[in-house]
């Protein structure tokens, strides 16, 4: 184990880590908002929108992320879809995780007895107020644990983007390995850093969950 390797390669590794954080943050944002839009699409209850929802979920949950990213990045140019590796990576990861978030939202909304919403409408609450004051506060405690789970999976899956040369953490470690003819140092570093990232996410999630379910613990 040659620790001095890290001294010479830390700029590359740090840049890779930064890019992984960047990719995952944007993808998470796409997933959170996209998932909500997808949920809304399904909630419209029209045959067309429900069909789109079902197809979207089947495609994005039924095929590996690797294949999706490959197909769009290498196959895209043939159908006029010309995106950079980064664009494909970020959007691909985001759309992929949105499919999972949509289902998480669905179970969250379904968990609130409709009578509570009727009472709110009866008292004059607007749709928006019902969402903000009644539904979201109660849903959070329920959707945070699976949401955190999904985020952790997404962070680990982001390593796949190295295959289409997105300059993220895994790509950085691979180039360190090939340049320095070492294996242990770069990949051990990779394992530790991914573990730290997911550990931080899981701790943060637990803290948020406790905040959101405080009212349940007191009862």
């Amino acid at each position: 184990m040659d620790l001095s390797l890290y001294v010479s390669y830390w700029p590359i590794l740090l840049k890779g880590l930064g890019f992984t954080l960047y990719v995952c943050s944007i993808a998470l944002l796409i997933g959170l908002i996209g998932g909500l839009l997808l949920y809304g699409l399904n909630r419209l209850g029209w045959r067309v929108t429900s069909f789109i929802y079902a197809v979207y979920l089947t495609v994005f949950r039924g095929t590996p992320l690797l294949v999706q990213v490959y197909l769009v990045y290498y196959g895209g140019p043939f159908v006029g879809l010309d995106m950079t590796a980064e664009q494909v990576g970020i959007i691909g990861l985001g759309l992929y995780v949105a499919a999972y978030f949509a289902e998480i939202y669905r179970s969250g909304f379904a968990s609130i007895p409709p009578g509570q919403l009727e009472a709110a409408y009866d008292l004059g609450f607007s749709r928006w107020q019902v969402l903000i004051r009644i539904q979201l506060p109660q849903m959070l405690g329920l959707i945070i644990p699976p949401g955190v789970n999904q985020t952790i999976i997404m962070i680990k899956e982001s390593a796949i983007l190295s295959i289409i040369t997105v300059p993220e953490l895994t790509t950085a470690a691979i180039s360190m390995a090939t340049q320095s003819f070492t294996v242990i140092e770069p990949y051990l570093f990779l394992a530790v850093v991914y573990w730290l990232l997911t550990f931080a996410v899981s701790k943060t999630g637990r803290w948020c969950e406790n905040k959101a379910t405080g009212y349940l613990i007191r009862t």
Partner: protein
């Protein structure tokens, strides 16, 4: 006030179907201001649906619901064509009407005080101080101010229902609808809720109450309506209705009830 000329609630040939299941087959009913009307009838006869049509939690598809003379849920143009009104307008037209549910429907993530204050802050737009004062006033009216910091999950069913009534009272309703308010309660808790409702009736609140508490119905109501198969089979003063039922349907309904609950009143 035009309380003498205008009915609190007027239902004209009210109809409602779920798919091809017609649940309300033409209901006509007048409720005056200050009146207490109890609705009785077997399970599935359409009692809840009728009540829910009044405050438009169900969209009715025939006839009219009028509250203080105003058509609820629809706009009628000069030719008599109906068009749906936006939710905001319907809610505006129904500000005087509040509903109390069988399942209380308190919001479990808010304390008792927050439950009562929330609509005052969000809908009435009162200041925090005003909302708090008002909330405490209605809570003390139902004898629940000592539990203001509790969460609904920490209360008994009877206490939850009283808080739910207070939450409605905070909005200063002129008309209150009760859908089996004591049916989800343990028998020993029924009394405390009925007591609150009785005092509301004495203060002159206009109330429409779906209930299986015949003794209570006989005591407080000006008018009892017996619903069967989506129609009003019989209606009248409680004394007459309970002691001299005219239709076979009501006779058998009452005798089944007495068999289960002992003597009538």
């Amino acid at each position: 006030m035009s309380t003498n000329t205008q009915r609190a609630i007027k239902l004209v040939d009210l109809k409602k179907s779920f798919g091809d299941n017609q649940v309300l087959k033409g209901i006509d009913l007048d409720v005056n201001y200050g009146q207490v009307v109890c609705i009785i009838g077997g399970s599935g006869s359409g009692k809840s649906t009728m009540l829910r049509c009044i405050n438009f939690l169900e969209q009715y598809d025939g006839g009219e619901v009028l509250v203080s003379g105003k058509l609820i849920g629809y706009n009628s143009d000069a030719q008599g064509n109906l068009s749906s009104l936006p939710t905001r307008v319907v809610q505006q037209d129904l500000t005087d009407v509040c509903m109390v549910f069988q399942q209380f429907n308190l919001w479990p993530h808010m304390t008792v005080l927050e439950n009562v204050m929330s609509p005052l802050l969000r809908v009435r737009r009162l200041s925090k101080k005003e909302a708090c004062e008002k909330a405490l006033a209605v809570l003390s009216k139902v004898g629940m101010e000592h539990k203001q910091d509790a969460y609904p999950g920490q209360l008994s069913g009877g206490q939850q229902q009283r808080v739910a009534i207070a939450r409605s009272l905070g909005m200063d309703p002129k008309i209150m609808l009760f859908d089996e308010p004591t049916s989800a309660l343990d028998p020993e808790l029924v009394g405390e809720v009925l007591k609150v409702m009785q005092s509301l009736a004495q203060e002159g609140m206009t109330m429409v109450i779906v209930t299986h508490e015949m003794g209570f119905a006989a005591q407080v109501s000006d008018q009892v309506v017996f619903l069967a198969n989506g129609r009003i089979a019989e209606q009248g003063e409680p004394n007459r209705l309970f002691n001299e039922p005219q239709t076979d349907q009501l006779k058998s309904f009452l005798s089944t009830w007495s068999e289960r609950n002992g003597s009538m009143l």
